[in-house]
Amino acid sequence: MALAVAIAAAMPVGAQTVAITGGKVYPVSGPPIEGGTVIIVNGRITAVGSGIAIPADAQRIDATGKIVTPGLVNSATELGVQEVGYGAGPNDETAKGKDNIAAAFTVWDGLNPNSVMFAPARKDGITSFVVLPNGGLVSGQAALLDVVPGTTSDMMIKSPVAMVAEVGDPQSAGVNSRGELIVKLRELLEDTRFFQTHRDAFDRAQTRTFSASRLDLQAMIPVIEGRLPLLVYVDRAADIDAAMRLAREFNLKLMIGSGAEAWMVADKLAAAHIPVLTGAMNNIPGGFASLGQRQESAGLLRKAGVSVALIGNAGGGDEEAFNVRNLKQEAGNAVSYGMTWDDALRAVTLTPAEIFGVSDRVGSLQPGREGNVVVWSGDPFEFTTRVEHVFVRGREYHDKTRQDMLMERYKTLPGTHNNPPQ
């Protein structure tokens, strides 16, 4: 009996069979299916299609007239490492590092799974997220996680998924000019290469000194081996080009983040198979490095054949934390500014999963993938659409957020100060 209880407690409530039937299913990995069925067994998708037999024990979700998509993946967040953006103690997305290099920094080790930020995100259909380090020249390593309860290990899909660097702001890199910034990055890459082949000598203290610490150099090895993508935050077309030259020189697997002017070098990015994380709600020439910022950017890049993952890039109310939920608005605006609807959906689901090497786990509705599924009352990008069901790893969540509790409390003024009903 005690054992049975223990097992039951450890099993997520939804670790069972779920059948979502009758909706218009967008697997993203394939064409949409009218009146399709999605079967989830023990947290994983086992079948997607029409005319699929529904297991007798399945919990049925009638999605007739609804839209069914994979859970959304937000590729640029500070979820769990930033509770209050400013003026409330240190946030955990930026490492001190050494001389603006913090390659060894594993940002997810500071992640708080109990952050109040998760529930509002999941409630609006975000089921997976990339947590990014920022600051300095090499900011650290990013990871991709699911929005599920438990520990960081429980949430983790893959770590690291990228090494993050910021190219284009000499000041934050601790140098005086862009060219010098590239020199500094090249020095780090060369030192990593040398370190990689002279580990024994290093450990015997028989090498020259390096530009970075032992742990930073070690963390950079997968980057120079082309196994770990280097996600470079950069805006100016010329700076993107400089990053591409460096990537060619060292055979790096490059990704571009922000990319205000990426559309100006779209053909080159497409030819080099370099994906871009960018948004569709910013057209402000906010600096001399982003004079070409435009809302058509995502659509133009896609048209040129670039893999595009949509992220927030206009700053609306803390888009990397509290407002990661507005990814669907970003997608809707991308459509308004020239991206196809299908591409926009892909850009918030399967494309980020592919870019970060986790498309075998999330981002599409296919057998074997995590049961991360959202049932929408209509077009996922439209404001009037409600999220009707959110499943993460096969479990349905009915999140009551801190904001929901506040609204309940003050819906009738003067409000109440009693505990809300659980």
């Binding site: 640029a76 500070e78 509770e83 209050v84 953006g85 400013y86 003026g87 409330a88 930020m117 990014l132 920022n134 600051g135 910021e166 935050y233 805006d235 922000s258 100006m264 709600m281 910013n282 057209n283 402000i284 020439p285 906010g286 600096g287 001399f288 982003s290 004079l291 070409g292 435009r294 890039n313 206009a314 700053g315 609306g316 109310g317 803390d318 888009e319 990397e320 934390a321 509290f322 407002n323 939920r325 507005n326 608005q329 809707g332 605006n333 459509v335 308004s336 990008f381 439209e382 404001f383 009037t384 659409t385 409600r386 904001q403 506040l406 609204m407 003050y410 819906k411 003024l413 409000g415």
Partner: protein, 472 residues
């Protein structure tokens, strides 16, 4: 990441509100406030930087077969609107199209009043955001009522035409929120101009920007204070005490002209005009408890707060705001970027609206300002989710007539009614859809933006050569 920097700049340093001037060059048709609000009898020089705005050339225009969200009544389906001589002449199921009218078929499209953003820093925090153009906070003293936002406005800020393309036709440009009292705001028409005077809304009242909470104490905590919220309040009160004294001396001299006039003081001149009711107070204030204290201060000194800006906790005191007739200039969903934004809820607008207070969708953000329609749509959805639905007819008011009221301009702009200024937006579809965009924008009857015609798209001097493409 970059975004967070923007946010901090907006929320912590740039963000806040104030008000803006008007002029004595009010056209005859705008006589409702002529001579009022200018302080003409009580301030030695009421209007030293008069508006030189003149409407751009316009032609008589009819938009028909179009849905009209009027902000003055129920939606008119498949109706029509006539714009003539800079004014809205007729709105209804049909209108008579003069022979010379440009007739636009609006089938499937929507017409709304021009959007009014009562919280902007365009021109004072211009793009590119370099130090040389950082002109929004006179952060040299916590109380700077002597500064006027218009003296910082760069008419070539490339953010202006982007705002117009977002359907915004009137802006209140405010000083930032570093200071307890940040200075005067200015109300601008979103039109090209060589000078700020040529953008100033004729006859608009000035506003005064005040700020509560974290920003002033953060900026001055190590620069002589205030260091605390109680220090903030002492600072407001001290300033109003000085202003009362100043006003008394001038009012006496204005009445009897005995002896030399009192010495002019620019800061107290502005504050005295607030006390006389000629300048509208726009108060950056996030928290409910602080808003209530600011209301008490306004009672103590006998001035009115026109609108609280960034009131993320407005829903907690919506009844008080309704009773005091104070606007709530708020975001749809920004929150948690600092402690005083902790209790932000998506239902804020719906809750405030249903409590009978005046909701204003504001931006404090050059990007968000271009999509205030989308912000309203998100807030509508949040209302529906908590059982407080908001109709499109109500939500359009949040974007137009309510902010127009906050600027004291609701008799001239903010709704589609005969006699109002012809500030009009033609949308590709329902403005509360994520897929709709402004197609054409008129200011005083002049079409200043046409998405389909690059020759009708305003480019600032700055953009020439620097911005390598044509916006649409």
């Amino acid at each position: 990441m970059r975004a967070l920097l923007c946010l901090l700049l907006a929320g912590a340093i740039a963000g806040c509100a104030s008000a803006h001037p008007q002029t004595t060059t009010t056209p005859a048709r705008d006589t409702t406030e002529a001579g009022v609000g200018l302080g003409g009898t009580s301030t030695p020089n009421a209007d030293p930087f008069p508006s030189t705005y003149t409407p751009f050339p316009s032609r008589t225009t009819v938009i028909r077969n179009v849905n009209l969200l009027t902000a003055a009544g129920p939606t008119i389906r498949n109706g029509a609107i006539l714009l003539q001589n800079g004014k809205i002449v007729a709105v209804g199921a049909t209108v008579n199209a003069p022979a010379d009218a440009l007739v636009i078929d609006g089938t499937g499209k929507y017409v709304t009043p021009g959007i009014v953003d009562d919280h902007s820093h365009l021109g004072v925090y211009s793009a590119p955001g370099v130090e040389a153009s950082s002109d929004g906070n006179e952060a040299t003293s916590p109380t700077t009522p002597q500064v006027w936002a218009e003296h910082s406005v760069w008419p070539q800020d490339p953010q202006f035409p982007r705002n117009l393309a977002g359907g915004v036709t009137t802006l209140q440009v405010l000083p930032g929120s570093a200071n307890l009292i940040g200075g005067r705001s200015v109300v601008l028409k979103v039109v090209p101009g060589r000078t700020v005077q040529s953008m100033k809304f004729p006859g608009a009242k000035y506003g005064l920007k005040m700020a509560c909470g974290e920003n002033p104490k953060r900026v001055y905590g190590n620069k002589g204070g205030p260091q605390t919220r109680m220090g903030n309040v002492a600072g407001y009160r001290a300033a109003w005490i000085r202003a009362q004294d100043y006003r008394r001396k001038w009012d006496k001299w204005n009445a009897d002209h005995k002896g030399d006039p009192p010495t002019r003081d620019l800061g107290n001149e502005t504050l005295a005009e607030v006390l006389r009711g000629n300048i509208l107070v726009h108060n950056h204030c996030y928290r409910a408890d602080e808003m209530a204290q600011m209301i008490d201060i306004s009672h103590e000194f006998g001035y009115k707060i026109r609108s609280f800006h960034h009131g993320v906790e407005a829903y907690k005191i919506a009844d008080l705001l309704a009773k005091e007739n104070i606007g709530a200039s708020i975001w749809a969903d920004w929150g948690m970027f600092k402690m005083e934004a902790l209790d932000a809820v998506k239902g804020n607008m719906a809750l405030v609206d249903h409590a009978g207070a005046r909701v204003i969708v504001h931006s404090d953000d050059p990007s968000g300002s271009q999509r205030l329609n989308q912000e309203a749509a998100k807030a509508m959805a949040a209302g529906a989710e908590i059982g407080l639905p908001v109709s499109e007819d109500q939500a359009i008011k949040w974007l137009t007539i309510n902010p127009a009221w906050a600027l004291g301009l609701d008799d001239r702009i903010g709704s589609l009614e005969a006699g109002k200024n012809a500030d009009v937006v033609l949308w590709s579809g329902d403005p509360f859809s994520v897929y709709s965009r402004p197609e054409k924008v008129w200011v005083d009857g002049a079409m200043l933006y046409d998405r389909t015609d690059p020759s009708e798209q305003w480019r600032t001097d700055f953009e020439l050569g620097f911005v390598p493409f044509n916006r649409n």
